[in-house]
Symmetry: D2
Subunit: 359 residues, 4 copies
């Protein structure tokens, strides 16, 4: 009671929230029942985008420090996980949209021209903040994606594009992981030994396998050697460039190595939260990707092969963008370089100690 | 392009939707991060309540006709099912709210006084339109539930209370089911025969069951007879009053009999959609009940045993209201009077014909 | 108590269900904790596939009648909807699988060779029964998809392939829709008039639109004419072949026209359930497609760019198959030919009467 | 290829999994379609119970160590969270069960006697392992709950009851939290100061509040004092017994104080994972509670007011057990004693250092 009293309706500004559904079909005297659903679903999306953006900003603030306090890692992870929860929920909102049939959509589709989801500022900001760059986007009508936005919105997007994104901040954070520089012991040498041993063993197993024909042996060994060659790229900074050039990786050599180390030693106390950060980023990316895919399926269902209201070539464009707009692909591809825990080099005691709590 | 062009942002009135999140904690210079989530979750609920209310209105309009065209039954069912989809989604919004911990809630709880979910007009309207009456509500601080609303909101609730609710309209619609009056064949006599035969058989099975002791037999037969006695109440309008008086049923004799008939003969074309209406109403009621229960669990978690912000005695009140505020209990209780399909009387051809499509 | 008593454990054959989880990693003295999850998730999938297959069989039985009783349409729809519910549930099982990290998977991956989801008989049967033909599948290692199954399983699949699938039965059922032959009134002529009127109007709107440049006008009109040309294909059986030849449609002219009619007149009592059949088939197909896509994403995450355990080229193959293996694409594409309800020809009274219940 | 090859079908023992669905209704020549769903849903539950039990065992193993290595906390949390994911999934299985209508259930209900969910060994083991004791269960027919199980299952339950449950292990683990004994600084004294200050402030605010009548002031202050009195119970081990005696708390004074400390200082690195342990236990408990409640609702719907197949008084019993069988209620009630972060005493540097990573 220390503060002036407040009523639910006023506190939540419900006057704005629940009185902002104006059916254009009704304005033009052809009221279409389902236009209300169409509006409400989109508004619910935008509400949640607002929340995702808000969490994202606070997470970026945390990672935008040269020295990130360990005591803020729990918060960072909780907020990443909250974004994941929200994404799972709003993926389900498509089910509700699909209670509207294509015929019902036709009742008011002509009133929407040329409005389109392409014009969602918040969605564009979220993609951009996570790290989707203009040059990695699927080309659309030969102009930057933000051209469909309102002028002041375009400025905001351009400003955001010019700043560091979450993936940029994460890359730098990874590069700073101190345990890579503990050079009295050379982790990567041990890792390389493990990898080589593994492959030699695998090749031996194939060569002595009575169930395989000579032909199969040759083919399998060739496959193994090509795999090993990929691992070799991960061993030296020089050869790593090959992986970057063919688009396998976008992040830096140093950051990816740190990410791999966090995964391999995720049980050590100091890596438990960073491991969750990496996992959460993959979850978020996967959820974005799923959402894009479902959106494409829904577009096909609602519009058939007509073009989308925003002038896009519709569901085909959306399907192509699904994969292309994935942001943290590097972490998915990194899985290739994991080795079984039984082969992971054991850390020396003095290194281990630094990964644990004070005594 | 027949109509003036419209932009996404403007069409969805996003200026109102995404700029109506004002954290009171920030107003008082103690910005609490999670207050944003608190606001957005509640606003998302209210957005969806708006949609549910909108669908409900259109459904009530359909049932508020003396002669409901068969061609609107599909629409009625689709809209009921849409409400169910929305309810399932928003049940999941509690998971998101619970990503906020009780400690985070304490950061801004003091700023909310005395705002409370009790003050949600739309939730109250939805309950009232479905059919929850003042006299069936759990008593709360000895005043009508709407006393916590703003004055003009109270008027709206009172007006709604004075009108027929969905359950009232459904009751009348059921009472009008024509096939109850086809008296050349007496359905209820046949049904009664089936019931009696069933019970006699059951009693015989018990009496001759070598696995049961005399004591168990007596107990089981007493139980069966008490069951049969309930069925008897369903046979005569006079004894039916007993079921109404002890609160087992609130709806009329006639409407409940029609509801039973629809369930037993749901496969006949003319009953396929009415059956879905009844099923959907139960789903909606069950979802409301579940929501109330989860809300009570969440309140316990967030507040412990402190009192709620609205001055309610908190989670205990919410738990008690959960069951008490169920609306379509009659249809759940009606299940008691179903008989196995193998015992359901076969309809004569001339009756059947009237339940089918024109030839 | 008429039947011998039965205990829960025995009735559900739990001895089989919960004692069939044998971790191979444990057999080889390298017990991997997460192998249990891997087994249980797959078994849960197979349990549900069993149920889907069971429902599918019963649905195919219904549609495999020359004269389908109207009283079985409600049942058919309920079972289709049950399949949809199951699909939504098991889509969520991937979330549980992903609580296993790639590193945990590596702990036991070597013991699984060459087992692979490609060897799921039930999944193959479900795809086949729904209507996925060998010739429409993505080529895989240049051999029929069933080659990876056990010999007796291959026979079962081949037998299933040789029979009519659900899509075949649905096609025939649609072709039998009687109201297409009511030739005293020529529906398709009216439909064609509506379409032509619509396009002429659209073209007029473009031509007189002051907001468009000459260039834009030309482009838009060309687009409209190309759309109209597609509609023309739908008007005559001859030109329809063009749509079949370019892969736009696989189903027959007659069946697709019936499907369109059902969609346009879905409110008429006799079409209410058939409309739900068509909608459910699309839902089922969309859910299968989503599942495939999520499976592909998961494979990428778990395996990186290594090849899959079954020797497939992994996630890339799975992603390509996602779209390719869609079965009811025709119904999605059919949306292109819907016209707004306001333009749909009004049916004459005598026709309408036949779409309603007996009087 | 190091190990003998294995096929999918054989590896997953699918012969057992998908051939163990025997409909008793078919045995007695009255095949009921929906009995298959009934069986499969229950089997799916039991499969997942197996997995939950498996995770639970491994979690209990971790906590059943006198010195729990910090490096296993990440694993413990992941497995608790996996249980939560599974619970969310199987809560949704009730939706699938409810695609079966009461009438469909009646088709085969008579064949199930006296089988009942009460006889699920795994469910009983999970409840028992989590910490539900016989004496805390709702009385059922005046005999121990395990009496309905098969003899060897009863032995297993009794043995489990005689061992320490997860809640017991958690209690001991909490009691061992070292930072409670750092007595050079007296945390609880500071906490008590904060609490007293808070209440004095609150009382002052009420007393000087011009919006309150004298009567309201008296009432509110009485309420605040009763709250303060509860806090006092938490201050001294003596008065704490009052809270135990009236059933507010079951856990020990020491363990609850540690739990509170973890919550208040959850951001300190050493508490980040323990905080997640406590949160996860509450989630698990809430999910169990929700499941019981939905089960009760479903029973009401399926059976009306007839008695359940296992002879229970049905849905009423289930509803009563819902709350009563909650296990970690102490942690929910503990929320009462949280104080706002702004009031939480600041830890001295030497204490803080011990809560951080080694330098």
């Amino acid at each position: 009671m220390k503060y002036p009293p407040v009523q639910y309706h006023e506190y939540l500004q419900l006057e704005n929230i629940i009185n902002s559904q104006n059916r254009r079909s009704a304005d033009y005297n052809k009221p279409a029942h389902d236009e209300m659903l169409f509006i409400v679903v989109h508004q619910a999306y935008e509400l949640w985008f607002k929340q995702i953006d808000f969490e994202l900003n606070s997470i970026m603030e945390i990672f935008n420090q040269t020295l990130i306090p360990d005591s803020s890692m729990g918060t960072a992870v909780s907020r990443l996980e909250r974004i994941i929860s929200i994404q799972k929920l709003i993926l389900g909102q498509i089910d509700i949209m699909e209670t509207m049939t294509p015929l019902d959509f036709l009742d008011f589709r002509e009133f929407l021209y040329p409005a389109s989801g392409f014009q969602s500022l918040q969605w564009r900001l979220i993609e951009t903040k996570l790290g989707l760059k203009q040059e990695n986007r699927l080309n659309y009508q030969n102009e930057p994606f933000y051209k469909q936005l309102l002028p002041h919105q375009q400025d905001l997007v351009k400003e955001t594009l010019s700043k560091e994104s979450l993936i940029d901040l994460i890359e730098k954070w990874l590069e700073r992981t101190p345990f890579l520089q503990m050079n009295q012991f050379d982790f990567w040498k041990l890792y390389q030994n493990s990898v080589n041993k593994m492959f030699q063993e695998d090749i031996h197993v194939v060569e002595t396998n009575p169930r395989l024909s000579e032909d199969e042996k040759l083919r399998t060994i060739a496959m193994l050697k090509s795999s090993l060659s990929m691992f070799d790229c991960f061993m030296s900074e020089d050869r790593f460039k090959e992986l970057q050039e063919n688009g396998y990786f976008k992040l830096s050599f140093k950051s990816l190595r740190a990410a791999l180390m966090i995964q391999l030693y995720r049980d050590e106390p100091i890596f438990q939260m960073p491991f969750r950060v990496l996992k959460s980023l993959q979850d978020i990316d996967e959820n974005m990707t799923q959402w894009r895919y479902r959106h494409a399926l829904m577009a096909h269902r609602m519009l058939g092969k007509k073009i989308g209201t925003g002038g896009s070539s519709g569901s085909d464009y959306l399907k192509s963008a699904t994969e292309k707009h994935k942001i943290f692909t590097d972490f998915f591809n990194l899985t290739t370089f994991l080795i079984p825990r039984s082969q992971v080099p054991i850390l020396p005691k003095d290194v281990l100690k630094k990964l644990h709590f004070a005594e």
